[in-house]
């Protein structure tokens, strides 16, 4: 298994390189730059700005310099616990942001990632707490009115976008009932509405996948065997069917968790949450070259790592699979 993980990690290096190279050059070929503004920058100012940010160097040199800044130069993973600074821990320097010159991209990630992680984990908790029971219940009581209700709730959750659900929750619980702030991220109570909104969408997917996975497993011979041996319904479901039934959910959760952890632009905008999702999207609009690259690299790293985790977990859960 360790060899498998090692090989996958080595494979990740060229993948990351392709992503970095693609992003680096694509953003440079898009019209407009970080200093393009409605009021034109005078030629003298533009010259000085380009010199300040080394944008007047040949593009290949800028690329090589950037790659060098990204290359890990030390290994102190414990430093991550003190403020999540990738420069302190590994010597990875994402450079200062163009849009926010007094913050480095490392700092922005260190500030915003924990917020997105918190929101992501809470939403994931909501999603699992709602999605799993709904899905299992629907599968066990399939084609009954319980199944229809569970499936309808799940379908509605998938169909109602967060930018509709979020404002409705705010309208009811913040404006009419006055229980919560309309938006903001100040106290624990401000976590409730965003987590519910983001979690409910994932809950819907999880419910549907769980139902599908369980239905397939419940038809398997080994379940029939378990029932024939007189196992109780609860034992059949939780002892025998659960592991196999959750496989589709697990493979869905890999990329979903990557997405949920790196922040959601819509939720962060609706609730004014200082997370990474908004930085990710706005950096592209601002042509904030360093912030675009920093967030893309982080996101790519998450997806690669979580896909690996999912593959490992699947082998562990499914006896039919093997590492190779």
């Amino acid at each position: 298994m360790l060899r498998y993980i090692g090989r996958r990690l080595l494979e990740a290096i060229p993948v990351m390189l392709v992503i970095i190279t693609g992003t680096f050059f694509m953003q440079r070929f898009v019209p407009g730059g970080p200093f393009t503004a409605e009021k034109a920058v005078t030629p003298e100012v533009e010259r000085n700005l380009e010199a300040y940010y080394h944008l007047n160097d040949p593009l290949w040199k800028q690329y090589v310099d950037y790659l060098w800044d990204l290359t890990p130069k030390r290994f102190h993973p414990l430093a991550l616990t003190q403020g999540f600074d990738l420069k302190e821990a590994f010597g990875i320097d994402f450079r200062p942001s163009f849009k926010y010159p007094n913050r480095t991209v490392n700092e922005i990630i260190a500030d915003k990632l924990p917020v997105s992680l918190e929101l992501g984990l809470l939403s994931l908790g909501v999603a699992l707490a709602i999605g799993l029971p709904l899905g299992i219940l629907a599968a066990v009581k399939r084609n009954s009115w319980i199944d229809y209700i569970c499936s309808s709730v799940a379908m509605t959750g998938i169909c109602v976008p967060t930018f509709v659900l979020g404002p409705i929750l705010v309208l009811v619980f913040a404006i009419h009932l006055g229980w919560f702030n309309a938006s903001g991220w100040y106290g624990p109570i401000d976590r409730v509405l965003p987590s519910l909104t983001l979690g409910s969408v994932y809950a819907a997917y999880i419910a549907r996948l769980t139902r599908g996975g369980f239905l397939e497993v419940l038809h398997q011979d080994y379940i029939r065997t378990a029932r024939a041996k007189g196992a109780s319904e609860a034992r059949v479901i939780f002892r025998h069917a659960l592991r196999g039934g959750l496989l589709p959910v697990v493979s869905f959760l890999g990329p979903a968790v990557a997405g949920i952890l790196t922040g959601s632009f819509v939720i962060e905008t609706i609730f004014q949450i200082p997370g990474l999702g908004r930085e990710f999207v706005n950096s592209a609009f601002n042509r904030d070259y360093t912030l675009i690259l920093g967030t893309v690299i982080l996101y790519a790293g998450f997806i690669i790592a979580l896909n690996l985790v999912v593959d490992v977990v699947q082998v562990w859960m499914n006896p039919k699979l093997k590492f190779e």
């Binding site: 409605e38 300040y52 007094n102 500030d111 915003k112 009811v172 006055g178 702030n181 903001g184």
Partner: protein, 545 residues
């Protein structure tokens, strides 16, 4: 807290979400009756500021905060923004208009208690003009001050030869390269002329480096009525009274909280729940509701800016002034303002804003559709026949751009027989197209940095970086220069009248409407007068019980 019947009703409504969506009378938790109002203004401020270094920022968002943290030589009158004494208690202007001598107040201090002297101004101007610092707004100094442009371009190394001198700690002398009759207005309205605490900045790294940590909460030293106490990126910025401000007795608020909210829907919801006293902007689709139900919370102020279309005069058919004028005349501006914009905007028939520091342009686009048709026929396109394909470019990030473009497209088709197609581009792509001349007609807007008619007229000068039309007129350029040397304001304004007349005749741009600033404001906010630049000196603002 919410009253009991109100909460009961709300609970019933929650039980039926559909019912709740239709709206209930229980709108906002009323404040506890007897407690005095906390003198803290909560201000929706659109976006996260780039920085709080007055020499390293550009936007309105940043301006709103910096206005609280830094004072200027000359301050703005809170009603009409005319220059009034600020850090300088008085000043003299030499008869030739080239030398300004400012006399600083004796009790000026930075917010850390250190004295603020004329040398602080000199060091600040040296910093903003340092070439390697690459300050984007430096041109508001180097256009006017002797030797400043040479220093900024690196051809002059000796800063003592730039037109700033401090004969003593309380006197600052500024020498200009040409008369600049609106200089005091720039200083009053624009942070670029503010002094920054260079000694403090030096403690956080090289003075001429962007983004050092001196602007963080706890580090920032300012000179304004307030000082920075908290800055959580994308959450809020909090300022509190500065005891060292020279006019601290006048300051009524205990503090201001700035919230960077970039979504108007969110802002309006926060206003409704009482999280904000003041919004940055306002949703056009809620205007009617507020006008009907809460007129006391809705404000529509005039705003010194114009919405217009640029015409690329280097390409046919708009290389012909008759075609340009025909397109400008064939638009029903009253209908645009009344039916499309609906926010109290004023139709624009000239390029200058009427009433900028007392200047009202006499020139006016007149003649209507009949004249437009005649001009188009005279140019060789009777009834629009023979016109080449025409494209109108606008940016996507402002919702009403599209509605405006569609309405105008229909007017041109109906009134001129001209078929115009619409193209939309993302903000920076659109700016790039416009700045590199890859367009025929492009939507544009101009918001003034300071309140003087010069600000609208200078952009059409030959070679001005903001003249995306590429229109050039020697007579116009001559007048622009002559205006600076006019003996007095009346004479200067008379020259501007001639310039506006040329613009109306030649039509390099099609003026459409003058902006308004629309926002929601709690009735308890006092001292927030409508000003043309939407700048509100905070020391006069307070909250009513």
């Amino acid at each position: 807290m919410m009253s009991r019947p109100c909460r009961f009703r709300a609970a019933v409504l929650a039980a039926a979400i559909g019912g709740a969506l239709l709206g209930s009378g229980c709108r906002r938790a009323p404040a506890a009756a007897a407690a005095p109002v906390r003198q803290v203004l909560r201000f929706g401020n659109s976006a996260e500021p780039q920085d709080l270094d007055p020499q390293n920022i550009q936007g309105i968002t940043e301006l709103n905060i910096v206005l609280a943290l830094f004072d200027s030589l000359v301050e703005m009158d809170p009603h009409d923004l005319h220059p009034v004494p600020g850090q300088a208690e008085s000043w003299e202007i030499s008869p030739d208009g080239l030398t300004y001598t400012f006399h600083l107040r004796p009790n000026l201090r930075w917010s850390n208690g250190e004295p603020l002297t004329a040398d602080d101004f000199i060091q600040s101007y040296r910093r903003i003009l340092t070439p390697s610092f690459a300050a984007e707004y430096a041109y508001l100094i180097y256009y006017y001050v002797q030797g400043a442009k040479e220093y900024y371009e690196g051809t002059l190394a000796d800063f003592s030869r730039v037109g700033f001198h401090a004969p003593d700690a309380r006197t600052l002398v500024v020498s200009l390269k040409q008369p600049t009759p609106f200089l005091l207005k720039i200083i009053a309205c624009h942070y670029v002329w503010d002094a920054v605490p260079v000694k403090t900045i030096a403690r956080f790294g090289p003075v001429g480096q962007k983004g050092s940590h001196w602007t963080r909460a706890g580090n920032l030293v300012g000179s304004g009525p307030f000082l920075l106490t908290e800055w959580i990126p994308n959450q809020r910025i909090v300022v509190a009274r500065n005891p060292y401000y020279w006019d601290a007795g006048q300051v009524k608020l205990d503090g201001i909280e700035f919230y960077p909210i970039d979504d108007q829907n969110v802002e309006e919801r926060m206003f409704r729940t009482g999280q904000l006293d003041l919004t940055f902007d306002f949703l056009p689709n809620k205007l009617d509701t507020y006008r009907r139900d809460h007129p006391d919370e809705l404000r529509i102020d005039p705003w010194l800016g114009i919405y217009y279309y640029n015409l690329n005069v280097t390409q046919p058919p708009f290389n012909d002034p008759r075609v340009r004028r025909a397109f400008a005349l064939a638009i029903d501006r009253e209908a645009l303002v009344k039916d499309v914009m609906r926010g109290g905007q004023v139709p624009a028939y000239a390029a200058s804003y009427p009433g900028t520091s007392g200047y009202v342009p006499r020139a006016r686009l007149a003649g209507g559709v009949a004249e437009a048709r005649r001009l188009l026929a005279e140019a060789g396109f009777p009834g629009g026949r023979g016109l080449p394909p025409i494209e109108l470019l606008y940016n996507t990030n402002v919702a009403y751009n599209r509605a405006m473009a569609e309405a105008i497209q229909a007017m041109w088709r109906q009134n001129l027989g001209a078929a115009v197609t619409l193209t939309t581009q993302e903000w920076k792509v659109y700016l790039d197209s416009m700045q590199t001349g890859h367009y025929q007609i492009a939507r544009a807007g101009w918001i003034a940095d300071y309140a003087d008619p010069h600000v609208f007229l200078e952009i059409y000068g030959t070679g001005n970086g903001n003249n995306y039309t590429r229109w050039s007129n020697p007579e116009y350029d001559r007048l622009l220069d002559r205006a600076l040397h006019a003996p007095d304001e009346a004479a200067r304004y008379e020259i501007y009248q001639q310039m506006d007349a040329i613009l109306v005749r030649e039509c390099p741009v099609i003026p459409l409407f003058y902006y308004t600033k629309t926002y929601a404001i709690s009735p308890k906010v006092q001292g927030w007068w409508p000003t043309l630049l939407d700048e509100h000196p905070y020391k006069y603002v307070y909250l009513k019980n």
